[in-house]
Symmetry: C2
Subunit: 419 residues, 2 copies
């Protein structure tokens, strides 16, 4: 009845969870949602009002070029250039969120049966997207410093992927960052082999400690960089972009035309008006101050909440910490118990393209306040101590064949400010 | 370098033309654009202001359900039910314009190599979409009353298509409407064969004479109906919808998640606010009054402009008339001459999935005013009389194998109010 490739693609458990979370008493660490109270509502309201009152107001309601609003492209290009990635407005294609940029890249680059290399675990809606395109997915090992360039080289030699997808900065779901020292090596090994890199960077500006690292795209020509307003502005506008390269630009524009003609004219015009009128760096600074506190609250509370033997990441930025419970736990089996305690998270298994580690889970710290984080983690602790929590407790010691990352923060050892 | 299927898909000549048309002195009959001076700018401005000032303002900037804004879905369902197509809010999936609905349907239903049946000529961005999905396209003959149900039955028996795509009411590009008497037959022949019908209906409410016809979807369960705000509201908001059926609903929602997670939250909320506050029927009535005048101006002027032997359609609604110049003309070859005379149109060839009739072209009458239509057609007449216009004039009588439709309005015979 439906296309064969659809039968293999599961609905996103994150988005399905969002539907369940309408019960207001649930404290959620599930969605990767920005904190709504930090939205610059006044600035956004003013931007729409000015766009719809100005001399070009009617143009904001009309069809528009597939590539995007010229003013918005120029403003984004200027901002990216300022962050160390020289970009022309003509390089940019505005997309309906960076999720769409992923779809367009898959449409433009992947024939059915093409191979895509990914980190594991990785952003699950990217996995969906590549599966829908009929791609075969292979995984590249990594550690706390991100993907291992030598292992990537080996995967490339063995599987000849068309592209390598990565979230190199404050990754979803792990919060990890590809070390600066590895970026040149990743660029080199892919460029040498003629493999495209898709650098998905929605979180890069949300840094809470340490020095910024340059995007991968600054190191090589074979990188398609995806950016987004969803985390630094507001996700409801669904605005993202891809920094195209000349070899794939026409194909991406055709894919964009066929997909939705163009992204909302009025949202693009409002974003351009907002960027022109606002000091976005200052707004991002406010976000970082608030999210830093929330990360610290979460990382500080985890030792007293998680069972002995648990490990978690302590991210320098972004929205997530990644937890690995002791052997025998199954995070998916834990979820109903957690929901019964009015707390939610995302089980880790769907973020794996191959063999999932079922003892993992993702916690987002950006939406709840510090007090809500403490209360939510207290509830999670209760759920973990509930008799139902350890569904597989009869088989301790099994690791689903996965090696724990030794450098993860361990229970009982309070996370320090450094990595 | 790019996916093989992309190499076969041309960029849309309509959208490429839009890029050329920024010269303000060009009068354009090319794009299927609504008239910007008829946008309800005040109503739209008020809708955004109220959404961004109300108690739920911050929710309008947040991530949202993939299926769409519940209020908007309820309002659209009510409106469709009122037009004779009983619809529940839960049937609807809100899309980023109805173009995206097409993409989602293609993703959900078509495996590579699947067969899609279409009218010929048909909406060219639908052709792009099906080509990108790797489908093989077959065409169904028709006449002034739309597709021929018996011929459709024959195509189904011969080619076993997965779906039949049609714009049954005021079609793009021809302006034709599938006769009420044929709708039940089309529904029956497809339902019996288990073929999905994709009914694309962006123009149905723009009727300038005659009685409304029920959507095809009202006659059978195997019809996916696509609607849009682009022609009755404003295209810049990129809001459309698909009336799903239970068998394909989950697949369409997964495809939507993977494509862009969801459509702009703020645009959906503003549209819901607008529909709640506005008498949309009255607004559509104003649009119809203005467009009727423009259609009449165009159809009235064509006899004095087009060369003897030309034919054209006289649509009951929508945005287009479809012109067939006499044998020997090539509309694509005429276009540079027309642009040199500061008038634009779309050559007909790209609307054909198989053998194009190069003597055809599409004229849109909704964007220019009545005076601009008269002046633009005067310029088109000059271009047609220019020595360069008849590139193939040495081969009169060739028809590219196409049979003219005898009932088309002919030169010298003023279009009557009836079909």
């Amino acid at each position: 009845m439906v296309a064969a490739r659809l039968r293999d693609v599961a609905s996103s458990p994150v988005r399905d969870l969002l539907a369940l979370l309408e019960r207001p008493e649930v404290l959620s660490f599930a969605g990767g949602l920005p904190a709504p109270e930090l939205f610059d509502l006044g600035g956004v309201r003013e931007a729409y009002a000015s766009v719809l009152s100005g001399p070009r107001a009617r143009l904001a309601l009309q069809y528009a070029p597939s590539e995007g609003d010229p003013s918005l492209r120029a403003l984004v290009a200027g901002r990216m250039t300022g962050r160390g990635l020289p970009t022309d407005a003509g390089d940019l294609l505005i997309t309906t969120g960076s999720q769409q940029a992923l779809t367009l890249v898959a449409t433009a680059l992947l024939d059915p049966g093409a191979v895509v290399a990914v980190e594991e675990p990785t952003y699950l809606a990217a996995l969906q997207c590549f599966q829908l395109a009929g791609a075969r997915i292979v995984t590249v090992p990594g550690d706390d410093d991100g993907v291992d360039p030598a292992a990537l080289g080996e995967v490339i030699r063995q599987h000849r992927p068309t592209l390598f997808y990565t979230v190199p900065t404050f990754a979803n779901p792990t919060g990890r960052t590809l070390a600066a020292s590895r970026r040149a090596a990743v660029a080199e090994v892919t460029a040498d082999a003629g493999v495209w890199v898709v650098e998905d960077d929605p979180y890069g500006e949300l840094r809470y400690r340490g020095e910024p690292v340059l995007p991968l795209a600054a190191a090589a020509e074979n990188v398609l960089y995806l950016g987004s307003f969803s985390k630094i502005g507001a996700p409801g506008l669904r605005l993202g972009w891809v920094r195209t390269r000349p070899a794939v630009r026409p194909a991406l524009v055709v894919a964009k035309q066929a997909t939705d003609l163009h992204t909302s004219t009025i949202d693009q015009a409002a974003a351009a008006a907002y960027l022109s009128a606002t000091d976005l760096d200052r707004h991002v600074g406010r976000l970082c101050d608030a999210y830093r506190e929330r990360r610290d609250a979460m990382i500080g509370a985890l030792p007293s909440v998680l069972p002995p033997g648990s490990r978690w990441t302590d991210p320098d930025g972004g929205m997530f910490t990644w937890v690995r419970l002791p052997d025998g736990y199954d995070a998916a089996a834990l979820l109903p118990t957690a929901l019964a305690h009015d707390v939610a998270f995302v089980p880790g298994a769907p973020f794996y393209a191959t063999a999932p580690d079922r003892a993992t889970l993702r916690l987002s710290f950006t939406t709840p306040t510090v007090d809500e984080i403490r209360e939510g983690l207290r509830r999670l602790g209760l759920a973990l101590r509930h008799p139902d929590a350890q569904a597989d407790s009869g088989t301790p010691g099994t690791m689903s064949g996965r090696k724990p990352v030794d450098s993860w923060t361990r229970t009982g050892q309070i996370a320090s400010g450094a990595r």
